[in-house]
């Protein structure tokens, strides 16, 4: 086991400060572009812009996309199913407030 040491790193809070292109979002989540496109057309992700090339995803999309990816992979749910699960989870969180 080796130990590497480096200087103090400043990061950005993804949810507050970052907007991502589809390429960046796919890279960050390891999701395929066709999945991200399908999630947008299903309303799971809501980027600004009119076509995949000029879509800009808000920082919240990172968490949302990771959740969608895990649900579809671990529970083998299709895209409309993932959208429904996420909506129900939002609803539960809202009711619990």
């Amino acid at each position: 086991m080796s130990i590497t040491n480096i200087q103090i790193l400043e990061g950005s809070i993804v949810e507050n400060e970052i907007h991502m292109t589809i390429t960046e979002l796919c890279h960050a989540t390891n999701a395929a572009e066709e999945h991200v496109i399908a999630w947008v057309y299903e309303g799971i992700l809501n980027p600004t812009g009119h076509s995949p090339d000029d879509w800009r995803f808000s920082g919240d999309s990172l968490q949302r996309a990771l959740q969608a990816l895990r649900l579809s992979r671990d529970l083998e749910i299709n895209t409309p199913g993932v959208a429904m699960v996420l909506e129900l989870l939002d609803e539960i969180a809202r009711l619990q407030k």
Partner: protein, 313 residues
């Protein structure tokens, strides 16, 4: 190393068919999926059943597992017999690239699998990595410099996967809260060819704290008060995460009253609120003088807290 009973993990018999295994896995996966379940041990349970399913759904791995596991019991000390896997050929990786948390038991049997996809391009950005880090609530209030240490799989010169410890000194920005991600540019996997390094995403959570509960940007704390402070009102000193404040307790405050200190939750563009929840704490009646004080109260009040209860005789 302890033996893991994968059949027990999925709650199926050793003779279960592939379909029975699949149904059992699906049911448990829905129950314990960390994105869905609110159970405290959901994540660990989900990893356990995921690992069990990865072995039992694959006829080759299941046969190999049955071979070594026919005598062993769950939780028993276990060492794989030498050359136990001779005669088994595992086709391809076939593993979920994201299941990086296989148990020691699993790795001893099936080896550790490298994560992630391969980039096809000659020059490409390195992989983005993800890790979870726990911070103190006070770090979110004030910002802080912290040293964190991460375990990262990497390849040694022979191409084997080894765990490498990496120490990072990071600045925790004021105002970050649980569930948010901190992106560190260029701290992910190395680039391919002339491509830049990937980024490192740190998912933030708070260390458990006995004094404060955190919901998004809002923070809750219990404040013990005396019966006379509750009844008559008082100004008391409250140690909040952002420093001491003088808080006015309105007269007639019962236990469980929520007093909101606007903007004293986790800071940010829209800062959260701090909720102080009153808890009336009664002093013990030990000396004669203290007992007399309670008796005087009993005489002074015509008060029955059970007046609205229907008492069955």
């Amino acid at each position: 190393m302890k033996f893991k009973d994968y059949y027990e993990a999925l709650g199926v018999a050793r003779t279960a068919t592939d379909d029975e295994i699949k149904v059992a896995y699906r049911k448990l996966a829905r129950k314990y999926h960390p994105d869905v379940s609110k159970l405290a041990d959901a994540e660990d349970r989900f990893k356990e059943i995921g690992e069990a399913y990865a072995v039992l759904k694959d006829p080759e791995k299941r046969a190999a597992y049955d071979q070594v596991g026919s005598q062993a019991k769950h939780g028993q000390d276990f060492t794989p017999p030498p050359n136990w896997d001779a005669g088994f050929e595992f086709s391809g990786s076939g593993f979920d690239p994201n299941s990086a948390d296989q148990s020691e038991f699993f790795e001893a049997l099936f080896g550790r699998h490298a994560r992630g996809r391969q980039n096809q391009n000659m020059n490409a950005k390195g992989q983005d990595h993800h890790a979870k880090v726990m911070i103190d609530l006070s770090d979110a209030y004030h910002g802080a410099k912290r040293s964190i240490s991460l375990q990262m799989p990497s390849h040694d010169v022979q191409g084997r996967v080894v765990m490498q410890e990496r120490k990072l000194d990071i600045a925790i920005p004021k105002g970050i809260h649980a569930g948010q991600h901190l992106r560190l540019r260029g701290q992910g996997g190395p680039g391919v060819g002339t491509g830049p390094a990937g980024d490192l995403y740190l998912e933030i959570s708070f260390k458990p704290n006995a004094s404060f509960r955190i919901e998004g940007r809002d923070v809750y704390m219990d404040l013990p008060i005396t019966p006379w402070e509750a009844a008559l009102g008082a100004t008391v000193n409250v140690p909040t995460p952002s420093g001491s404040v003088e808080l006015k307790i309105p007269q007639g405050s019962n236990s469980g009253r929520k007093l909101r200190l606007k903007g004293r939750g986790i800071p940010g563009l829209t800062p959260g609120d701090l909720y102080v929840v009153t808890t009336i704490t009664i002093p013990p009646a030990e000396s004669e003088q203290e007992k007399e004080a309670y008796r005087a109260m009993a005489k002074a009040f015509d008060f029955n807290p059970r007046a609205n209860m229907k008492v069955s005789s």
